[in-house]
Every structure is written in C-alpha cells, then in structure tokens.
C-alpha cells in the first residue's frame, strides 16, 4: 500500500459560485470527496460600515444598518435604535413598541423563508425556493404598504418608527397570515419530509451543545444544539415580556441533536411561532404616538453600552462608545453569521463536500453580516 501515493487536493470554493449566500470563499483540502480542512476567507463584501459610523451622526446611520443584513432589515434597524435609546434613556411609546414587534416578526418570517428555500436550492430542489419567494412577495407588499420600500426599509427611527400604520394594513396582514399558515404545511410536504432531503441532512455534522456555546453561536443554530437560549425570552427587550410564545429547541427528533435537519426544522417552527406573535400584536395594538420626542441633533452622554436583540440569524449586538459629541466614537456590530462562519473549519473535518454544502445552507450564513 505504501507504493500507492495519494495526494490531497486543494480546491477553491471560490467567491463566484452559484449559491445564494453571497460572496463566501472556502479553501478546501480534500482527499477525493472527504474534506481534511476548510478554511474560510472573508472580506469580499467589506464596506467599512463601522468606520462610516464614526463620520456621520446617529440619525444618519440608520439606513446603513439596513444593509448589515438586508434580508432582516427591520431587526437590524431595531437593534441600533435600541442601543441609542438605552444610552440616552429615551422611552419609546407603547404603540411604537408593538409596531416594532409586529414588523420585526414579519421580517423574521421573510428571512427564514429565504433561509429554508436557499438550503433546499443548494441541495438541488429548486422549486421550494421559488415557492418560498412567492410567499415572501406578499410580505414585501405589506412592508411596502408601511414604509414604501421592499427590501432595505429604514423604517425605525431613534425613539419610535417613521410612519404610522396605514389604512387597510391590519386587514391585509390578517389575510396574509390566514393564507400563509397552510402554506407552511404544504412547504413541509414538498421539502422537509421528503425522504431524499431527510437523508441528505439528517445526522449530517451534528454540533454538540458545548461546542456551540464555545464558538458563540447564537439564534436558531444554538437552539438546534439543544441549548435553551432565546433573547426574547431570557433577556427580554421591548414588549416581549407581555407576549406568549414558545421557543423551539432541538431535541433530536429528526436525527441527532444539532444536525443540519434540526437547524432547518427550528427555522420552520420559528416561522409558525412568529405568526402567533403577530396575531397577538394585532389584538393588543394600543393607540398612541408613533415616536417619542427626540431632539433633531442627538448628543448622547459620554459612555459606552452594549445592547443585543434576537435577529433571525442569531444575536445582533451593537457596542457603542460615545464621547458626548454628535457622532459616535466607536460602533462595533456583533452579528450571528460571523460566529457561525467561524465554526465551519472546526466541524467540517471528515465530511464530504456535499455535506459541507448542506452545512453552509443550514447555518444560514449571509455574507454582508460576516464582512459588514
């Protein structure tokens, strides 16, 4: 056997490849199909967002937060607004809080639709992706009704939201929710319970709970590994204390705890939970102001603060240092996809290239969050 010389191949899974996760690059060292090492190379979408934050005022940075994670714009806006409000001690009116929860959860549904659809499309099932996008188009229409654009909303302001809900919004939203609930079941029949899909993802790269915590995974990735941690329940912000909802946690019912299928099913279950939360918000929506009285020129007191929210892709944290002037001294953004990307070199050893694709799809990476 020593006469047979085998070499490992170095393959570049380059920044241009037909995947829907953005510009990611991996340098794989493989022995045939089995991967020995997978080193990520990031920075292809770096736009210097944190540096830009030091040049413009607090109000002006809000559109930039849209572009941290463009599929979950509302949640990114919310995280930033929350940080500045906490630093300044601004109290947001109750109606604005409920509107924020409503659009935040709606955006969570939209983001998870893309996540599960993209995972299916990576594995070769192109139709469920298009079906997911078809449902998401209605959500885009609802968002357009509220704030005027379909993707990078720039809807929240420091102290509240920028527009109040228009006429006919609640009716449109209720119609959508009634239409969407049976569609989740249809999507499950098409993709989630399909034997081929289950074979491709069940038992593939299980991430144990200690490793997930050690690598600072957050969001659905962490909960799939069996860790009970959801910021909406355990470190509540806004009006989540008053809302009732379940938090899906992985129990290993579809394979092993923390495998790709578990992460996928957690997202499907979270979509169903979000529908429940939105219905509660519609019922409990109070009257009131849409924005608190915030000075046009914001000068927060000097100090630092770290505030975190539960974005669809994990924990979105903003660390803000203010020196008392109009512009931040330093703004650091902590995103969920960055830590999810950092776990890949550790867990990808020994799996096949096809499994790596399933892993990347199930971790729900998105390049702008990694590079900011």
């Amino acid at each position: 056997m020593s006469l047979l010389k085998t070499e490992t191949m170095v393959i570049n899974m380059g920044p241009q490849h037909p995947s829907t996760h953005g510009v990611l690059r991996f340098i794989l060292t493989t022995d045939g199909e089995v991967i020995h090492s997978a080193i990520p190379d990031i920075g292809y979408l770096h736009r210097g967002m944190e540096k830009i934050a030091e040049q413009i005022t607090y109000h002006q940075f809000m559109p930039y937060t849209d572009r941290i994670d463009y599929l979950a714009s509302m949640n990114c806006n919310w995280g930033y607004a929350l940080t500045v409000e906490r630093l300044m001690g601004i109290e947001v009116p109750r109606r604005a809080e409920f509107i924020r929860v409503l659009v935040g959860e709606l955006n969570r549904i939209a983001s998870h639709l893309i996540a599960v659809g993209a995972m299916g499309s990576d594995l070769g099932a192109f139709t469920p992706f298009l079906h997911a996008i078809r449902e998401r188009e209605w959500i885009n229409d609802i968002m357009e009704m509220v704030c005027g654009v379909r993707l990078t909303f720039n809807y929240m302001r420091i102290g509240g939201v920028s527009y109040d809900l228009p006429e006919g919004f609640m009716q449109n939203l209720t119609e959508f929710l009634d239409y969407f609930e049976p569609k989740v079941k249809q999507f499950n029949d098409l993709l989630s319970y399909n034997k081929i899909f289950v074979e491709r993802t069940s038992g593939v790269v299980p991430i144990p709970a200690e490793k997930a915590i050690g690598f600072s995974l957050a969001g659905p990735n962490l909960r799939a590994s069996g860790v009970q941690w959801d910021l909406r329940r355990d470190d509540p912000y806004s009006v989540y204390r008053e809302l009732e909802f379940e938090v899906p946690v992985g129990k290993g019912e579809y394979g092993e705890t923390g495998d790709c299928l578990e992460r996928y099913m957690i997202r499907i279950n979270e979509m169903v939970e979000s529908i429940g939360i939105i219905r509660q918000c519609i019922r409990m929506m109070p009257d009131g102001e849409r924005i608190a009285k915030v000075p046009r020129v914001l000068k927060p007191p000097a100090g630092e603060i770290y505030a975190r929210t539960e974005a669809p892709r994990g924990e979105l944290g903003f660390y803000l240092i203010s020196d008392g002037s109009q512009k931040p001294y330093r703004l650091k953004i902590r995103t969920g996809s960055f830590t999810a990307m950092s776990i890949i070199p550790d867990v990808a050893q020994g799996c096949l290239i096809a499994d790596l694709v399933a892993l990347i799809g199930s971790l729900d990476l998105i390049a702008p969050e990694i590079d900011r």
Binding site: I11, D122, G124, A125, T127, I196, E199
Partner: protein, 355 residues
C-alpha cells in the same frame, strides 16, 4: 427503411443502373441526415418545454417572448451559442477536448436507429434491437470521462469520475430489468417486442400488466434510466449548484450546448425505450400507429421533468447505495420471477388472468 429504398429503386429504373453499394450508401446518408434533423428539433423543442414546465411548477411563466409563447427561444439560444467565442483552456488536451461532446452526442444519437415509430417506420429493424440500444448508449461514459480529463480542471475531473461511477453502476439494474422483458417477449428485436404486445384491445397485453414482476421491473428500469441520463435526483455530475458545472465546466458555446442537446434528446430516448418495452410501443386502443408512440414518449418526458423539478439530489454514496443495495436485488428478483412466471403460466397476459 430498406423497403422504402427498394420501392423507390423499383419504381424509377434510372436508379437500377447505379451500383448497389452506392445507391444504398447515399440512401443511408440521407436517412441519417433526416434523423439528425429530427433529433435536433426534438432536442430543441424539449428544452423549450422543460423551461416552460419548470416555470409553471414554480408559479411563474417560462420564456414567453420570443415567438408565439416563446417557442422560438431555443433557436435564439442556439444562434447565440454559435456566435460565442470557442474557448479552449491553454493546458487542455486539445484533441480529446474537441472530441468529447460529439462522442456523448453520438452515443445518444445512435440509439434512435432502432426505435419502432410505427409498423412501417423504423430506420433499421435489427434483430438485436434492445441489446444494441443498451450497448451504444454506454458510449457516453467515454465521452464524459474524456471531457473531464481533457479540461485540466480538478472540478471537472471530480464530476467526470462521479458520472462514470454513476452510469456504470446503474447499467446493471437497467440491463437486468430489460432482460426480464426479453424473457417474456422471446425476442431482442424492438419490433418483435411490440408485436408481442399487440391485441387485447390495445391496452391489456402491455408488458407492464403482464405479471407483477414486470411491473416492478418497470420502476427499476425507469429509476435506473433517470440515473443514466444524469437527471435530478441523480444529477451530481452536471448541475452541481454546490460547485460548478461538473465535467462541462470548461466548455463554452456550441460544445457546451452539445452536452445538453444530448441530455434533452436522451429524455425522449428514455421515453421511447420505456414505452416500447413496457407500454406497447405504437400499439394503443382504437387505431394503432405512430401517434401512440409519440404520445407515450411525450408523457414520459413530462414525467421526467416533473420529477426533476420536485426532488433534491442524492449524495454520491447514497446514489451508489440505491443502485447496488436496492435496485440490483429487485432486478434479480424480477428476472427470476418473470422466468418462473412464464414457466408455470405460459401464454397468458394481464397478470395471468387472460389467455
């Protein structure tokens, strides 16, 4: 087609003065050219149908701007590909690189010779019909391996090797299932197999209803043929949305289109062979003829597209497991079972209930 050649020769005495070899040689070239035209048009139209079907299954239209309902889209795409630059990588093995797409196309094209379109329309009724089809369609393996090797690209080589493993493994259950049909029909010739299914008011004598073993053999054969044709759920070698385009990565322009021409025309081949072997060929209720053959083949083409746009793809080791652990044992069981059936219940059809 030889009868037509003889009829024309007898009718026009001027042709009798041409020596035999020259006359039949020119006739063969003409028929081959006509068949090439037919195959190309079928491949182009299949590409248009595939895009429309895929679109409708995804709640969108397919191409509907070029020509009525987009039916000239494939001509526009073909012209565009002809006008593209012919890129050959610098370190590629040039003769092999140039030859590979044509071998893949030839391997698929040569199977059209024995298709029984109707009682009279068949290019050559070889008495080893179905054996010839299985043998010649394996030529694509050589073409794919040449394409992968000559591209001088690690991705292509990976894709090509996967493709070879896949096609060679799925030949086994495919051939065994065909053998069951040959046992029951008693002949290898394609027209002979169709003749064996004649009568019974056009439907009851079909091979698929002959006995339960042939019923299972049809599904084994169909799944194996999907894998031979590199279609989802078995399209690891080519449409890897994981990596790039597999063995055809380095190809551009018309050479690239050749691979896909072969794939689309292969859809019709799978339909034709399945309908001949199991569904009665050109036989059908009321009037038998070429229309039943075309209809059945088109139904199978639609079925293949339907399967493609629903299912995700299998991983390479799952693919191998499916072939060796699931399909091959079932194919053996079908072969032995069909042999036992015709031994104990000869001259019966429709699950042994009718004589």
């Amino acid at each position: 087609m030889k009868e037509f050649a003889d009829i024309i020769r007898n009718a026009l005495p001027v042709f009798k003065s041409i020596p035999d070899a020259l006359y039949y040689g020119i006739w063969m070239l003409l028929v081959a050219g006509a068949l090439l035209g037919v195959v190309s048009v079928i491949a182009g139209i299949t590409s248009w149908v595939e895009r429309r079907v895929a679109g409708r299954m995804m709640s969108r239209f397919g191409p509907n701007r070029v020509g009525p309902q987009g039916s000239l889209q494939w001509i526009a795409d073909g012209i565009k590909c002809l006008l593209k630059e012919d890129l050959i990588p610098a370190l590629a093995d040039k003769p092999l690189f140039r030859l590979a797409p044509y071998i893949v196309f030839a391997g698929m094209f040569a199977t059209w010779v024995v298709f029984p379109f109707s009682k009279k329309i068949i290019v050559a009724d070889l008495n080893i019909g179905i054996l010839y089809v299985l043998a010649v369609s394996s030529l694509v393996v050589i073409g794919i391996l040449m394409a992968g090797w000559a591209s001088n690209n690690k991705w292509s080589l990976l894709g090509a090797m996967r493709a070879v493993a896949q096609i060679v493994s799925y030949e086994v259950p495919s051939v065994l299932a065909v053998l069951s049909v040959v046992l029951v029909s008693g002949t290898l010739s394609m027209q002979g197999i169709v003749e064996h299914q004649r009568g019974g008011s056009g439907v009851l004598r079909w091979n698929i209803f002959h006995d339960p073993f042939l019923f299972i053999a049809f599904f084994v054969f169909f799944i194996a043929q999907i894998a031979e044709g590199n279609r989802t759920p078995f399209d690891l070698p080519e449409a890897e949305s994981e990596l790039v385009a597999g063995y055809s990565t380095e190809y551009s322009g018309m050479r690239f289109v050749m691979f896909y021409f072969a794939e689309w025309a292969n859809l019709f081949v799978i339909g034709a062979v399945s309908s001949t072997l199991f569904f009665g060929g050109w036989e059908g209720p009321f009037i038998a003829g070429i229309h039943w053959f075309i209809l059945k083949s088109c139904f199978f083409v639609f079925l293949l597209m339907w399967i493609r746009w629903t299912l995700p793809r299998l991983r390479v080791d799952q693919l191998m497991t499916l072939s060796w652990k699931y399909l091959t044992p079932f194919a053996f069981v079908c072969l032995v079972g069909a042999a036992a059936w015709i031994l104990f219940l000869p001259d019966r059809y429709f699950m042994g209930m009718l004589k």
